[in-house]
Symmetry: C2
């Protein structure tokens, strides 16, 4: 079981691996805003399943937990869309490290 927040990098990598395997078809799903609601539900479910039993979240009031979760998944998804739309100009590994650092530093003191 992945623990939160230390396994954030694994979550991001899983999301990216999935995208790389499915290639352009997956990118089209990701970029089309018509699919945002489904994607949001999907990512939310993944995060909740892996993280909701972690100590980090057990201590949080439920609505605050929702805000933190939505911060995590919307920023990963939003940055990934930007990266795809920009034509993947930053190397994949740099992109992963950048978004991991942005999200991890955001949540680590909560």
């Amino acid at each position: 079981m992945l623990a939160f927040p230390k396994d954030l990098k694994n979550i991001i990598n899983t999301f990216i691996d999935f995208s790389e395997i499915y290639g352009n078809a997956h990118d089209k799903i990701i970029i089309d805003s018509k699919n945002d609601y489904v994607l949001q539900k999907m990512i939310n479910n993944i995060i909740k399943k892996t993280w909701e039993k972690s100590e980090f979240f057990k201590e949080k009031e439920p609505y605050l937990r929702n805000i933190i979760l939505s911060f995590v998944f919307s920023s990963i998804l939003g940055s990934y869309k930007q990266w795809i739309n920009d034509g993947r100009k930053i190397p994949l590994q740099n992109f992963i490290e950048t978004i991991e650092s942005l999200v991890y530093n955001g949540i680590k003191n909560f």
Copy 2:
């Protein structure tokens, strides 16, 4: 002119004030994912206009700047949607402080 990242709170407050003035109509626009692309463009333009001349961004490589900008606006928008969908259970001021802290800590060391 607002400076980045220290004026992040003002940007969030401006966005919230706008939402509070327009009330339910604005919330409906915000929550409907059909409007995500327009909203993203709008917030991106606001941030770019106010921040692109700041020292923080001048030092950044353009595509990295895009990733940081998309991190900022997608996490504010995503958390705000979550807060509205949850029925505003956390007091407004707490919500603003929470999202400001998440985003500010994320970007401050970049």
